[in-house]
Symmetry: C2
Subunit: 256 residues, 2 copies
């Protein structure tokens, strides 16, 4: 991807002197634009209108234009955006011009899936090390990488200049792991464990929690059901009346 421009051209129409400080909401959308742009590039498009790109990314076109305007003016009025150029710009801003190294900690159920995920490599990242605490797992080879013991984490993170740490251990171990990552100089962490991490200033943590996503969906289900209250969908005993909260709760022990 993105070997546009004839090899011997004068090049560098690009001009991003310093990083503009983008609204956080914009930053969160840029990866989506980037993905859509890569799809377009594959399909042979070399320019795209804000309308088209916005649709492909699932957002409002005005929002998209405003987002892109924060990077500078890389569109052409009456024409649209140059796909290849825009890819370069977004990749530059996101810091994807250098492939970032990732350390994955916790090679269990989820960790295995992540370790084998090619979306890492194809979108700007390289898994450089795997760690686990379980002696059985240590030494195992996955995708050409040998699982190391978590005691080596800080040292290896420093040595290999790990940029991002991914935590896929049980919640109980997550804080300890985070501490070791920080000790190893890692300043960005992606946390899959359902717990809040406390880290020093300057360290960014993002959290992905499957159960949270499901619970948000559950809320909307609940909401939809309570609106359709009269028609009685038949989907659920929909109880908007308070009185059986604990009654409908034969489950127990929602643990750490």
């Amino acid at each position: 991807m993105s070997q546009h421009r004839p090899p011997g051209a004068p090049e560098r129409p690009v001009a991003v002197p310093a990083l503009p400080d983008l609204p956080e909401a914009t930053v969160a959308r840029l990866p989506e634009y980037l993905r859509a742009l890569h799809n377009l590039a594959e399909n042979g498009h070399d320019t795209v209108s804000s309308e088209w790109l916005a649709t492909a990314a699932g957002v409002n076109s005005a929002k998209l234009r405003k987002d892109l305007s924060h990077l500078g003016s890389y569109g052409t009025r009456g024409v649209g955006y140059d796909v290849a150029l825009l890819i370069d710009q977004i990749e530059y801003v996101l810091g994807l011009t250098q492939r970032r190294t990732v350390a994955l900690v916790g090679v269990g159920n989820l960790g295995h899936a992540l370790a084998g995920y090619d979306g890492f490599a194809t979108r700007g990242f390289r898994i450089a090390a795997l760690f686990d605490a379980d002696p059985v797992r240590v030494g195992e080879e996955i995708n050409g990488l040998v699982v190391r013991h978590v005691d080596e984490l800080s040292r290896v993170a420093t040595e290999e200049s790990i940029a991002i740490g991914v935590i896929a251990t049980p919640a109980a171990a997550a804080q300890r792991v985070a501490d070791r990552l920080v000790a190893g100089g890692v300043t960005s962490i992606l946390n899959f464990a359902p717990c809040v991490l406390s880290v020093p200033d300057g360290v960014d943590v993002r959290k992905v929690d499957l159960a949270v996503e499901l619970q948000i969906l559950s809320f909307h289900e609940h909401r939809k059901a309570s609106l359709t209250a009269l028609p009685a969908v038949g989907e659920a005993p929909l109880t908007p009346l308070p009185g059986n909260l604990a009654a409908t709760d034969p489950q127990e022990a929602i643990g750490t």
Copy 2:
């Protein structure tokens, strides 16, 4: 969890007549509060102050109080919130008083991890069916569930009153799967495939994209590096100068 109250008590101090319409931002935080509350309950606390709970959930205490105030007044001034009561309230609002059924589509790398995840069961959900298109996988038994062919998806979803569909197929197949889920009456979808889904009004889609998370972290890394430009941390060749954009990109085909 949540068998508080002596079995023979008069009970029902609870009073949530109808679903208040909560700000979306609040809804997104409630699951986090709920998790923190369950932890507290396990550790034997029966009341908690907004300050404490806010810290446990990683948010500002004023924000937490405002969030909870949307559910009604379930705190006691000078004391705090009753942990058990608050758990019931949040679970009620999130619609977790009935266990929601989940269908998982795409039992590959990631799907296997999800199917084996106990966080589903412990936090209000039940995987009721697994689907895949690969004949090799169909028939496989995972955790007591037999993988069915995706052609059965719509029918089974209807029959089993599936509340939430989880898509863990390649991006190319995701839209088709979403269509079948919708056809089966599913109105909530959690999508792990990196693509936008188009669904009818009334259907909620949430997306989890690992690469997006990493790219957001990458942006902040880039940002931090460009701020520390002079001190030259030694962590990376930090190139704030544009000039090697396409040069560092020998990868290709990020595809549908």
